[in-house]
C-alpha cells in the first residue's frame, strides 16, 4: 500500500512536470531551428553587434517595426528558429532610411541610440563584373544618387564613367541595394570584414 502511494506520487509529479513544460515544447515545435539566410537579413541600425547578445536582450515587442516610417523592419517567424520575433531588415525589399526612430523607441538596450554616421549594419559591396557602368553597359549612378550619407559613403570613380566606389563611411543602410536596377543586384550589404569589392576566385 505504501509502495502504491509512492508510485502514485511519482506519476503525479511527472505528469505535473510534463504538463508545465508542454507549452514550451509546443512553441519549440512551432519554431523549428532553421537558419534564415544571413546575407540579405540585416539587424536594424544600432543593434548589438553580438547576435546572441541581441537575441537575449530583445523581448520581441515589435515596437521598432511599429514606428518604422518606411516599414522596412520585419520580424522572423517560423523560419527564424531561435531568432523568432526578433527584427530584421531585408534591403532588397525595403531599406532603412536611418531615421533613428527604432533606437529611440526600443525599451531594452538591444537597439542602442547611435548617431547616423556611427551606425554599423554592414558595408556595401559592389560586384564590378556585373554593375552596369563597371562593365560599360551604360550610365547609372542610382546608388550614388540615393545614398543618405552622400559623397563620404559612395561616390564615382575619378574621371567619371559613373562607376560607383564605396568608402569606409558607408553604414550599410541598404538604400543602394533597394534602388539598384540590375536584376542580379551587384551591390549587396555584407560584413565589414568582407570588403567593398567582390573578390572572384577565378
Amino acid at each position: 500500500m505504501k509502495r502504491r502511494g509512492f508510485l502514485q506520487k511519482i506519476v503525479y509529479g511527472t505528469s505535473v512536470l510534463v504538463a508545465s513544460s508542454l507549452p514550451f515544447a509546443f512553441s519549440r515545435f512551432l519554431t523549428p531551428d532553421v537558419k534564415a539566410d544571413p546575407t540579405t537579413h540585416l539587424r536594424p541600425p544600432g543593434a548589438l553587434k553580438d547576435d546572441d547578445a541581441f537575441i537575449s536582450a530583445c523581448i520581441g515587442c515589435g515596437l521598432c517595426g511599429e514606428v518604422c516610417p518606411p516599414k522596412c523592419i520585419r520580424f522572423y517567424s517560423r523560419e527564424g528558429g531561435h531568432k523568432v520575433n526578433t527584427p530584421y531588415i531585408n534591403p532588397e525589399e525595403k531599406a532603412c532610411t536611418l531615421c533613428n526612430k527604432c533606437m529611440e523607441v526600443c525599451p531594452t538596450a538591444s537597439l542602442q541610440e547611435t548617431p547616423r554616421n556611427k551606425i554599423d549594419m554592414g558595408i556595401s559591396q559592389i560586384d564590378r563584373t556585373a554593375c552596369y557602368p563597371w562593365v560599360d553597359r551604360g550610365i547609372c549612378g542610382a546608388c550614388v544618387a540615393v545614398c543618405p550619407l552622400g559623397e563620404k559613403a559612395i561616390s564615382f570613380k575619378m574621371w567619371g564613367q559613373y562607376r560607383p566606389i564605396v568608402h569606409d563611411a558607408c553604414v550599410g543602410c541598404g538604400l543602394c541595394v533597394e534602388i539598384c536596377p540590375h536584376p542580379s543586384l551587384p551591390i549587396r550589404i555584407v560584413e565589414r570584414s568582407q570588403g567593398k569589392v567582390v573578390r572572384h576566385s577565378i
Binding site: 505535473v16 513544460s21 514550451f24 523581448i59 515596437l63 518606411p70
Partner: protein, 333 residues
Amino acid sequence: MTSKTIKPFFLWKHLNKLRWLSLCTVFAMLIFLPYAHVYQTFEAAHAYDLLADSEKQLYDTMEAITSPFINDIEKDLDAIKGNTWSGTFFGYQLSDPLAALGQIFAGRSFYLPFLLTALVPVIFTIVFGRFFCGWICPATFIYELNTNVAAWLRRAGLKTGNRRFDLRIKYLVLAIGLVLSAITGSVLVAGIYPPAIVGREIYYAIALGGFGAGSVFFVITLLFDLLVARRGFCRYLCPGGALYSLLGRFRIFRIQRIVENCNDCAKCNAICEFGLDPLRDGFGQECNNCTACIAICPTDALTFKVRLSDVPNMGPGHLGKLYRRDKKDNGKQ
C-alpha cells in the same frame, strides 16, 4: 425574519461592465495602432497618388478618424505605440513585468532603464493584485468570449471540457520558462505568453500581411480551453499569470464576502473564471479582481475591502441559514 442589511457600495456591482469596456478599448487599440502605422508609412512616403485603391481607402479613413485629434501625423501618432507586452504611452514606456524578468534571465544582466519601465505595472499589481489578467490582457478578451462560446455549445447539447488541475502548475511553468530562457539565451516566455502573442500577431496580420508562428499556438490554447479545461491556459499554465499572482499575493484591494448577506447560492463559484471559491472565502493570490462574482451576486453579499489577507472561511451564509430556519419553522406551524 430579522437580518442586518449591509449594503456594499453601489458602484462595485457595475465594475464588471467597466472591465469589459476596458478590455474592449485595449483590444480596439491593438487593432487601430497597426492601421495607424500603415497610414504613417504612406504619409512618410509622400506617395498618395501611387497607392492602390484599397490603400487609398485606408488612407482616407484613417485621415478622417485622426484629423480632429492630431496635427503632425508622423510625430503625433507616435504618442501611443506598441502593445501590452511593451509600449510607449505619451512618452512613458511601460513593459510587462514578465518581459523584464525574462530579459534578466535571458541576458543574465540587469539593464535598469528597461526594468524601470515595468515598475508602474508592478506597483499596480502589488496594490490591485492580478488585475492585468482581468482588466487589460487582450487574450482575456478572447478567452472570456471563448468561455461564452463553450456555454452556448453546452446549451446546444455538446460536451465541453471542464477538467480541473492543480492551480500551482503555472508557477512551475514560470520557473521552467525562466530556467530555459537562461539556458538558451532568448526570452522564451515571450513565445508562450498569450497577451504578447495576441498583440504581436494582430500587428503582423495587419501591417506585415500575415500571421506568425504564435497564432497557431494561440489557437491551440483556445482549443485547450474549449475541450479540456475552462479557461485552462490562464488557470493552470500562464507564466505571466503566475508572476502576477505572486506579486499580488498581499494585494491591498480584495473582494470579500459579507456573510450576513450571503444565501449560499454558489453563483459566484460558477461564474469565477479562475475556478476559485468565493462561496467559502477562498480567493487567495489567484483572484484577479475581475468583479464578475460581485456583478452576479443576487443578494449583494460581495464587496471590496482594504485588507492585506483574506478572511478565513466564515461558514455558510446567514441569509441562507435564516431562510432555511424560517422554512423549517413554517413547516412546524
